[in-house]
Structures are given as C-alpha cells and as structure tokens.
C-alpha cells in the first residue's frame, strides 16, 4: 500500500478533436485509382435498385475488384472499373482514418504498415453497420488479442488499445455533476460505513499486465516509436473532468478499493479491500490516512456522481 498522491495526466490531444462523420477522408483519398481486375466477367447485371445496391456494396467493400461492364459507365478520363476503384479506396481509407483517430499511440507503436494491416483485418471482421462512426473502433482490443501477426506482444497491444478506447468512451460518456466534498459532508457519521457511491459515467478503471499508461505517456511526449515495455502489473483510471480527459495511475490497494466502490460495495466493505493487518495499529492508522488522501483526490477529480 502507498499513500502517494496520484498525479493525473492530461490525455487530450488533437486525435480526440478529429471530426468523425465527414464522408471524405482527410488525407488519403486523392491517390490515382488503380486499374481494377475483373474477377468474374459473367456476373449477371443487377436488375432493380436493391439488386444494384447490393452489387455495389459488394464491389466497393469486397476483397476483390468486380467486373463493371454494363453497370458502371466509362467516364471522360477513367474507365468504369477505375471509377469504381475510387470508392473502393475511399472505403478502406475512411475507416482506417477513423481507427487511427481512436488509436494514435497503437498506430505509432505498431508503425504505419503493421497498423494498416491490422485496420484491414478490422474492417473485414467488423464492418460498420450504423450511420455513426463514434463506436466503430470498439473491437480493437479484442482484435489485437487474436491477431497472429502481433504474436507474443498481442497482450500488450490489446491493453494499449483498451486504454485508448477508454479515452474514446469517456469522451462520449454523459457527464453529470460530480459529487462534491460538501455533498459527502452531509452524510451523517453513523451512516458512513453503509454509504454507497455511484461512479461517474465518464470514469474507467483499467488493470493491466504491462505499464501501459507509462508507455502511452512516453509515446505522446516524445512522438517516437519506443521499445515495448516488459510485463509489470499496473492500473490506471481514465476519466473526463469537465471537457478534459485525464489518466491517473493507481496502486494495487487503490485499485482494489476503487473497483469495490464502483462495484456497489459499501464504504466499509471497500475499505476492507486494503488488506491491512488489523492487529497492527500503526498500519491501520497509515491505511486510514492513505484512504482519506485517495478519497479526497477521487472526489476532487469527479470520480463519483452520487452517494446513497
């Protein structure tokens, strides 16, 4: 156990200010189209609106270019296949851009080529179905875990993706007025042990097998590819205070107490998670001091929205 004060780190950056819904990818849609290679010259011409749209979606999103004769007109300077290829390229570029917005440090750590391959795999496995892209990237931690190319480092990449996805989630989470110390002072002393706290919707507590937040922080600070860290357990709170995003490292004892509180334990039950030797008065006194310090910091950082 430690009574050190947490040091919140601002997590804001231009990536989280990215416009998400634009139909036009910002950077990568202006390449010259590649000539398509028809895979099936005998494809029947789609008849009617639904058949045509089904055909076009497959032709744009599918793995191979389609034969376009009889469906797409040749243009003044481009063939039908080349014109279709503009849309094929845009589809992939747009979704990759979206994932890069959500996972800037994962992209930086993997490098452009590996991140692009991961995105291709992502788009193939998890195509977008709804009109909003705000939640499109939510499967990335799971994909990292199961991607063979990431090999022995897959667990680290998955944890890094979890941290970055938590930042996206708290950006979009509701932000009700946080509980204040004054609110807590209204709880009668004899009710403290039974009191339960409601966690903020804009808070995530993450446990890792690697020092993920330290790697994230170093990458953001230095803007360069850093070596992957060795395994070493860590925990981080990711949260939004007002409009700003923050990360706060947690010790194991802090993590146990905080997770218990967020899991609907009473204050007395949560404090029991510190695992202090009750027969040692000095240890008990230190624990009480530490908990008060943590608690004040968590409240000041808006970790809770209500007390009952």
């Amino acid at each position: 156990m430690s009574d050190r004060l947490p040091q919140p780190m601002a997590a804001d950056g231009p990536a989280y200010a990215a416009e998400r819904a634009s139909a036009t990818p910002a950077h990568v849609w202006t390449q010259a189209p590649r000539a398509a290679h028809p895979r099936d010259a005998h494809l029947p011409r789609p008849a009617g609106l639904h058949a045509l749209q089904t055909w076009l979606v497959e032709a744009i999103c599918g793995p191979e270019p389609a034969a376009t004769a009889g469906v797409v007109k040749d243009g003044p300077r481009l063939s039908g296949a080349e014109r279709l290829d503009i849309y094929r390229h845009a589809y992939s570029a747009r979704l990759q851009e979206c994932l890069r917005d959500d996972y800037p440090v994962l992209a930086q750590t993997l490098g452009d080529a590996r991140f692009a391959r991961l995105c291709q795999e992502y788009v193939a496995r998890h195509p977008s179905r709804g009109p909003s892209l705000n939640a499109f990237g939510r499967h990335m931690p799971e994909l990292c875990r199961s991607t063979r190319e990431l090999q022995s480092a897959a667990a680290f990449y998955a944890e890094l993706a979890s941290l970055e996805w938590a930042l996206v989630e708290v950006t979009h989470a509701a932000g009700p007025a946080p509980l204040s110390l004054q609110d807590l002072q209204r709880v009668p002393p004899d009710a403290w042990g039974r009191a339960r706290l409601t966690g903020s919707a804009a808070l995530r507590v993450l446990r890792f097998e690697h020092p993920v937040n330290a790697h994230y922080q170093a990458c953001r600070a230095h803007g360069e590819v850093l070596p992957l860290p060795a395994a070493s357990p860590s925990a981080t709170a990711v949260y939004r205070r007002g409009v700003e995003l923050w990360r706060m490292d947690l010790t194991p004892a802090m993590t146990r107490v905080l997770r218990a509180l967020l899991g609907d334990a009473s204050l007395a039950e949560a404090l029991g998670c510190i695992y202090v030797d009750a027969s040692d008065p000095a240890a008990v006194a230190e624990a009480e001091r530490s908990v008060m310090t943590w608690f004040q910091s968590w409240v000041a950082n808006g970790f809770f929205s209500a007390v009952v």
């Binding site: 231009p14 990215a18 416009e19 998400r20 819904a21 634009s22 139909a23 036009t24 910002a26 950077h27 202006t30 390449q31 010259a32 189209p33 009617g48 609106l49 639904h50 045509l52 749209q53 076009l56 979606v57 744009i60 999103c61 009889g70 469906v71 797409v72 007109k73 243009g75 003044p76 300077r77 481009l78 039908g80 080349e82 014109r83 279709l84 503009i86 849309y87 845009a90 589809y91 747009r94 979704l95 195509p127 977008s128 179905r129 709804g130 009109p131 909003s132 892209l133 705000n134 939640a135 708290v170 950006t171 979009h172 989470a173 509701a174 932000g175 919707a201 804009a202 939004r240 409009v243």
Partner: protein, 274 residues
C-alpha cells in the same frame, strides 16, 4: 426568396472541433454555423457540451451524411429518433442530407454513393423524403453530392432527378456549387446546364468549398481555399436563389479567422441583398 419562407441566415461556417475554443472565448461575428449531425449522435459527452454553448450564441443548421435517403434498406428508426432529438436540442430551422445512399442493411460504407437516376429510384426517394419530413416535423433539404461514377441504369441527368424529387416530395435543396463543379469535371457535363435545370425557389442553402485535382478526376476534399470558377458558380446561384451561404473546410483546417475570412469572400460574388 425561397418558397418555404425559410430565413436567409447570411454567410456561415461549418462548425469544427478545432475552432470550438476560439468561438466560445472570442464569440466572433459569424452569421451562423452548420454542424455535421452525426458528430453529435451516439454521444452524451464532450461534443454536446460544446454544441450547447455554441447554440446558445448562434443559429445552428444541421447537415447529415448518414440518412441514406436513397438506400433500398428501410429508414433507420433509431437514427431518425436521435436526429429529431438533436434537432429539438439546437432548434435548427432546417436540416439537410445528400441525394445518395450510404449502404444497405448489413454494411455502411460511410460514403455518399450515387443513385441510378431511374423512375424506380425517383419514387423510392420521394416517398422516403416525405416520411422523413413528416417524422422530423421540419424542412429537409437535399444536397447534390460529388460523385465519381455514373450508373448505366440512369435514364435522366442528376439535375432532372434532383428537381423531380424536390417537386414531388415538396422539399428544399441545398445546392453545393463545388459538388456541381467536381461532378461536371468527373462526368463531363456543363455546370451551367446543371444550374439552369434546378428550381431556384427551392434552393434554401448553398455550400461552397475547396477540392483536390487528381489529374484524371476531382475529389471533394473540402480542403484549401475555394477556386475562382467555384466562387463564380456560388455568386450565380446565390443571386438567382437568395439562399444562405456556408463554407465547408474539413481537411488541413486553418485557424478560425482564416476560415471565416475565406467564407466572407462570398460577399464579393453575391447579390447586393446579402
């Protein structure tokens, strides 16, 4: 000047996250802002915090990319309900989306895909525009998209199709003059013919923006300053329609003053009324 008596808002700028802080701190003298509706859907957090504060100070109009009015898949009820809640929140005088489709039920391309300009597609879109306007209880404007391919099935040009939809569904138009310019280059039609073929009294809003020349085709990237031929089209369309003007700038976005200054260049091309 439009047949719907919708207000003339002046010259606006697309609201972009990079400008939030500047707008709230400096409160620049901008006539109005247009939001990308989808940026404020499926969120209860920071985007809405900023939007609410901008909406307290400026008129807001909603512009969408996800309605998929031409899709053969059913209209997305959840999306429409969210859109209506957003409309009620910002009290937009109208909302707009594109004459396009973005996907079918199983897959969304998030692109503004061209429709076949056929009788079947026409009546399909007309029916859906009627449904959306009735559900939203607000005017819907349809925007001409930039497109990069044409379909063999089409039996009429885009401007005829768009005009017919507007007439039969009784909706307004958002004329994007850059899209006219881009598609005219990509498909080899005359931008003047396009403009002449539209019902001017249904044009409520105009979009203007930059694009990227890729040699064989133009791409509607909303990047950089607007080129003079597009400003000329804007001036022509604005004088004919009296419509509100909005600059879109979505890639390599400069600071707010530069963006707004670019939008205000429209004054030099518009009629005396504006």
């Amino acid at each position: 000047m439009n047949r719907f008596s919708l207000p003339h808002l002046g010259i606006g700028v697309g609201l972009r996250t990079r400008h939030y802080q500047h707008i709230l701190e400096r409160e620049p003298a901008v006539d109005w802002f247009e939001i990308i509706s989808e940026n404020y859907l499926q969120t209860q957090g920071r985007p809405l915090y900023y939007l609410d504060r901008v909406a307290e100070r400026y008129p807001i109009v909603m512009h969408g990319v996800g309605l998929s009015i031409g899709s053969s898949a059913p209209l997305d009820g959840d999306y429409l309900r969210e859109l209506k809640a957003l409309h009620d929140r910002v009290r937009a005088p109208w909302l707009s989306d594109h004459l396009c489709w973005t996907g079918i039920a199983a897959q969304n391309t998030h692109d503004l895909l061209p429709l076949p300009y056929t009788e079947e597609a026409l009546w399909h879109v007309v029916q859906r525009v009627r449904e959306v306007q009735a559900f939203m209880d607000a005017p819907l404007l349809l925007e001409n998209p930039s497109t990069y391919l044409e379909l063999e099935d089409s039996i009429m040009p885009e401007w005829e199709f768009l005009s017919a939809v507007a007439r039969e569904a009784d909706c307004g138009l958002l004329l994007d003059v850059n899209n006219v310019y881009v598609s005219a280059f990509n498909h080899g039609f005359d931008a003047q013919t396009y403009l002449a073929g539209l019902p001017k009294d249904r044009i409520v809003q105009l979009h203007v923006s930059g694009h990227t020349h890729c040699g064989t085709h133009l791409v509607d990237t909303h990047i950089g300053p607007v080129i003079d031929p597009v400003w000329q089209l804007l001036g022509q369309a604005q004088r004919l329609s009296g419509a509100s003007v909005l600059l879109e700038w979505d890639a390599e976005i400069p600071d707010f003053e530069a963006t707004h200054a670019e939008a205000l260049r429209a004054r030099a091309y518009m009629g005396a009324r504006s």
